[in-house]
Symmetry: C2
Subunit: 435 residues, 2 copies
């Protein structure tokens, strides 16, 4: 009997799913329904494309457009708006070129991604407002930058993407205003880390915290970039009763099955299992999209795979700073009702006598019995991959004492003899003893 | 009753022990017997001092010389040769300034370090032979370099220190010959990693592998540096029946107790517990010296501490390469009678479109049931601290599948969306499935 896998959305999750399904089943018909003119695009690369570090938008694609249709025999349909799902009839409806279509499927993978939040922008020309969620958007904005038509850029939101965009505009020589409704940058981070980032950002751009968007619109910026987060685009499955969780994201099991028969989901539209929280969490990031897409496609095509869950690891470059986190911040832990304490240290990234050493701020978050709950780091070097040691420790359920015992690498050019992570663990251990 | 702690050796382990003991017991009399004119010296920094990256030898000291005698009230005796130990009488004998002394102790910590191996060097002036184990040696060699009297340097041994010294001489503009008895560099690493390092070293210096030392002495080098490893300096305790293990190093429990009553040991003279091997191993490295010294001093002074063991983590800068390892190499595993397989991958260190990406070779070593046994890495960036993720995984006893599931950080400037470690874990997982 003929089998058709339909994938809704051709981003990182969708193309990972389609490719994984092809590896499992060489005979399967695979159709991808994509809203834009591109697939397998890396949204995370857009700020660097806009900054001019990347020459063309095509370089952001994981594979050339022809690759999927050719070697992988994946039928990619572009400029498609999926309108509805009939799980009983096993069909999806979509519009393309002004016409309505219905497509039958044996199995369906929903990787519809996230929808950017759009605050009201009265009086701003819509062709000067960008969301950095599609390559088309990025290409249009890059054209304006290349044409020298962006004297002043307004970035709305001071999360990861907002700060990356602020840097991109600054690199291009624009005057930049960043406006944030909250009184802080990087809401996923605790205050001591965020305040270091805030001070650094202020060295480069006009940062307005706790500010009203309407007031800054009076500055008449040439372009406005919206970076106020995304909502999971779960609507077609949720409308049919698929179970949803945090932020309205689709709930899935470890094999990426939704509660609807023959419907899997992956990427920014799901809330996968968070190992530290012990439940689902909505943390839309690239690695999770790729991994969950691969699991969904593998299982939907008849193979075996499971997703081990997330611990909330993320890193961002903000001008000259590396800013990293994993697990729970104190704010996260309090929101989840978990008792949490934090220990902060600042230590150098290399032997004290070795040139080029930088100061690294490490914050460890720990809970009952010294259980490690998370970490945050900020510094000019050494944060981005050092955070992964804590990510591994969180996967293993380590305590502060376990972290203290780790045999971490040392050589004068790369670390002091006690790595900053061990210095942080020592301080946390002393704080726990003093309780 | 009056209590006296005597510490034999004032290097990293000894001064860590003395300082930890002071923190536990403000009243304890603490005496350190040190062979050289310095204490708390960082031997690992010597190559960078010789290269001229560090201005003075004093900058390599963890604390100024006066610090211990002053604030910490530690009685440091310099230029002392400890000759013998009487565990029943609780005394140590030593010579200082041509005179013999005996000193009673309540508790003793042996941190006598390592003794460099000294191959025969017929016909070479002894004042032109250096071992890079004392600051005095380093200062004398630096003087020769600063005076322009080292046109040609011979380095004997192509391990960590030999290669660091080769780089230091090259930075100073010397002609450099490195001679190694084995047919390879970095004996702790497997061949595929070592051969990459070998090719890189050959771009900078004259490297002679499988070579006879006597032949290269015909080159009449201006200086000879011996970097052929160290033996544990366990003799004073071993002569009294203290139990020894690998390489003749002292055996200790997790609290750094030797088999002699009231005698602890730490640093390069011990064989601590290796968590992957499941038994003692002689791996003389700085972090272990610091940590075991701290445990020994804490416990000897009446406090509570345990050492969690090592996993064999090390990193070295070799010219433009970062070279890192943790756990067991295939060679190590075979020597220990453990079945082992290796998986090698090469992957980029940043997003493919982000400037400055380098290739990182990751080798994973895995054993029965996919148990992770170790990893090695080499590349122009990204090895030094990435190895620590595997070190944490080894502490936790993870499998290849566990490693594959880690939620590692991603941003285009710092890593590709699948970190090289995850690419390696994927490849190892496929290799395990194919078995």
């Amino acid at each position: 009997m003929h089998s058709r896998l339909v994938v809704v959305g051709g981003g990182a999750a969708g193309m990972s799913a389609a490719s994984a399904a092809r590896r499992v089943d060489p005979e399967l018909e695979i159709v991808v329904l994509e809203a834009t003119g591109y697939v397998a695009y890396g949204l995370c690369g857009i700020p660097y494309y806009l900054a001019g570090l990347v020459g063309t938008a095509e370089e952001l694609l994981a594979y050339p457009a022809a690759y999927f249709g050719g070697r992988r025999r994946i039928d990619v349909r572009h400029h498609v708006q999926v309108t509805d799902l009939d799980p009983d009839g096993h069909t999806v409806g979509y519009r393309q070129g002004g016409r309505a279509h219905r497509l039958g499927y044996s199995r369906l993978v929903v990787t519809a991604g996230g929808t950017p939040n759009r605050p009201a922008l009265d009086g701003v020309r819509s062709d000067r407002v960008f969301t950095i969620r599609t390559l088309e958007d990025a290409i249009a904005l890059r054209s304006l930058l290349d044409a020298g038509r962006v004297g002043h850029a307004l970035v709305v939101g001071a999360g990861y993407i907002g700060l990356e965009m602020a840097e991109a505009f600054a690199v291009r020589g624009c005057a930049v205003t960043v406006v944030e409704r909250l009184d802080r940058v990087l809401p996923g981070f605790d205050e001591p880390i965020a305040s270091t980032v805030e001070a650094h950002v202020r060295e480069h751009v006009d940062l307005r915290l706790g500010a009203d968007l309407r007031e800054v619109l009076d500055l008449a910026p040439d372009v406005v970039v919206l970076a106020t987060g995304v909502r999971p685009e779960a609507s077609i499955a949720a409308a049919q009763g698929a179970r949803t969780g945090p932020a309205g994201a689709l709930l899935v099991d470890a094999r990426m099955r939704t509660s609807l028969a023959d419907v899997w989901a992956a990427g920014d539209c799901i809330a996968p299992h968070h190992r530290v929280l012990g439940g689902p969490a909505f943390v839309p990031l690239g690695p999770t999209a790729n991994k969950t897409g691969r699991v969904a496609g593998t299982v939907a095509a008849g193979g075996e795979a499971e997703f081990g869950g997330i611990v909330g690891t993320a890193v961002v470059k903000v001008f000259d700073l590396e800013v990293a986190r994993t697990g729970l911040s104190v704010v996260d832990a309090e929101a989840a009702g978990l008792p949490a304490h934090a220990t902060d240290i600042v230590h150098r990234t290399r032997a004290k006598y070795y040139p080029g050493s930088a100061e690294l701020h490490v914050r460890l978050v720990h809970g009952e019995g010294g259980r490690l709950l998370g970490a945050q780091m900020v510094g000019r070097e050494g944060a981005a991959k050092r955070i992964d040691v804590v990510a591994a420790a969180l996967h293993a359920g380590m305590t502060v004492a376990d972290l203290l015992g780790l045999d971490l690498s040392y050589a004068p050019p790369f670390a002091p003899v006690y790595d900053p992570l061990l210095i942080a663990a020592q301080a946390a251990d002393r704080a726990l003893e003093a309780v």
